[in-house]
Symmetry: C2
Subunit: 362 residues, 2 copies
């Protein structure tokens, strides 16, 4: 079967340039060429994360780091901010690590607001908090800046933030925000193949991790720090991903970070406009729409047009594009269009054209 | 810098065919094409592991699965068989997971023998055992068949076996051996890029894992089983690695498993012969030499020739090959030559020629 262009919210389409770097002839991971590679991209990764801390590379999906953050940081109790499939699951994962966890739940499609978090944290007993910045399942972008400003009020609470589908899409200045863990994955807006997690941790998080006696080895923050300081990783890394990352950070700085944020803002606005023009309403609460993907309401909430998503997916597929049909318990009653990664005005316009002709066939 | 051909004990050289498969245009991991891919290779993976159990794919290095096995299986105490850098480290990792662990230590260069394990296990209190089949740091191949035969005497002890550098090199019939976990990595004898762990677990291991309340999510055996039954993985997999794996299992069955084992036996014998012909002695105890890599004694033990390994590495590098200079506390006093993966009589003879001319320059 011929390739379907991916417009699902990750993995996304990979450029030939990235694939070429991905297949750079193999090198050893304890030798100088790998150390040189990591050292070469470290300053660019730091610029990307807007931090002076070292950026760690984890050979895992983001879930590995999400679990690792729980194991490294939760001695007492974690507050899990829940607003969709992925943030909801983090609560479950925390409990599976044998940790005390408490839920802060909002309706899917609504954001987690700072006052809700403040109210929970003020009850005391928490030493960590998890937040999914951009909830990929609902297309909600939570107000990270305002949430991060709570950190100064709760300095002992570790703020763990998943930016899997917002990283390199919107401005996330790690050091300035004062949060403790910022993690992302390779297969969303970075437009790399899945299989690599990237993250930074604060000095406070590093200090906290020492007090956890069962944090293990594979996701141990101490090991990541010790090895990153020598331009290595604790375990054999996915070297191909690191080569691809070198190519990708080069792309990002060639475009310019600000220009990249503006491009994503524009593309997501175009998609929201397309939806409105075709009678659809959006699933996320107004003002909190993701700039990486657009979650379109299709009966999950009152209002707006409702279509047969499966048929739509099939017509879109006939024209060489893979589109999403909703995730988890809003599968079918929502659908999502991704503008993450390398997408351009032109490539999005091609998508809208395909959507248009598919809608006509319904 | 031009590419150095890898003769280090992993990662090893990757073929163009494997790289081509590695860059198959991206697909989603929850869609039918990925399920079809996993379903297509599952029977071949089962043939390779010689099992009727499902083979799991972990987006991690082998260490992730090694830690995961501890978290899934150790309620009481684990016996860690230690005979080199990697097996020694497993003891450390078990303790870092907050587990009771006891060491069974032999000198580096010696094998772990069944009677030693029997003596330890007979003291009682253990519910798991870790064994590195082929200790990559010392070039020792432990007698797995004889060790596995102890399983019937200790049915409640979970036998966890790392075959990172022996898998697809020597015959390891999982079901017939009756062990509980068999794990390997992609970057050794499978000659794929690093970043994928492959493993199987027994029904008993699966049953045991349910009793562990803090086993987490990322390496949870229950999640792997549940997802593999639907041809999926718990988290976003490294899809590129799964494409490469499809290509590699095809290579393996095209060659024939028995033929592959014979090739590796022959190549490692050739390397041992080369060492003896040049006045070197081997580091592993006779009768327990690895068939994947040859660990040459260079002063770690009495007897045999001693050379300046660093100089040797540099001369070999001048001729386009990367060779190892020993690992851990036997760095420099041993060195290792790998014949894993796609190596042939011809490619090994090229290596020996390069080694010969380098020795002459010393």
């Amino acid at each position: 079967m011929s390739h379907l262009k991916l417009h699902i919210p990750g993995p996304v389409e990979i450029s030939n340039k990235t694939y070429k770097a991905f297949c750079t002839p193999m090198i050893g991971h304890r030798g100088q060429p790998f150390k040189d590679l990591y050292a070469r991209i470290q300053p660019q990764l730091q610029a990307l994360f807007q931090t002076e801390r070292l950026v760690y590379l984890s050979t895992s999906s983001a879930w590995g780091v999400m679990e690792g953050a729980i194991r490294n940081l939760v001695n007492k109790k974690v507050l899990n901010c829940m607003c969709g499939a992925f943030s909801d699951k983090w609560f479950d994962v925390a409990k599976r690590c044998g940790k005390q966890a408490e839920a802060l739940k909002v309706d899917w499609g609504s954001p987690v607001l700072p006052e809700m978090i403040d109210q929970k944290l003020s009850q005391g007993g928490f030493d960590a908090l998890t937040l999914v910045h951009n909830e990929t399942s609902t297309g909600i972008l939570n107000p990270l800046n305002d949430i991060a400003s709570l950190k100064s009020k709760y300095p002992d609470v570790m703020f763990i933030v998943d930016t899997v589908s917002s990283f390199s899409v919107v401005d996330i200045p790690f050091d300035q925000l004062g949060i403790d863990v910022l993690l992302t994955g390779s297969q969303k807006a970075l437009a790399m193949p899945p299989g690599l997690g990237l993250f930074v941790v604060s000095q406070a998080a590093l200090d906290r991790s020492i007090t956890l006696a069962d944090r293990g080895y594979y996701f141990d923050f101490q090991e990541f720090q010790k090895n990153a300081a020598k331009n290595m990783t604790p375990s054999t890394p996915s070297i191909a991903h690191v080569f691809a990352l070198e190519s990708k950070v080069h792309d990002i700085f060639e475009e310019g970070m600000q220009q990249r944020f503006e491009r994503h803002a524009r593309l997501s606005q175009m998609t929201r406009d397309w939806a409105h023009q075709h009678g659809f309403s959006l699933f996320p609460e107004p003002g909190y729409e993701s700039q990486a993907l657009t979650c379109i309401n299709n009966g999950a909430k009152p209002g707006g047009r409702v279509i047969d998503v499966q048929k739509m997916q099939s017509y879109v597929k006939d024209q060489g594009i893979l589109m999403d049909g909703g995730y988890g318990r809003i599968k079918g009653t929502t659908f999502r269009l991704s503008s993450m990664g390398d997408e351009t005005v032109e490539s999005m316009e091609r998508l809208y054209k395909v959507l248009d002709t598919s809608l006509e066939r319904l």
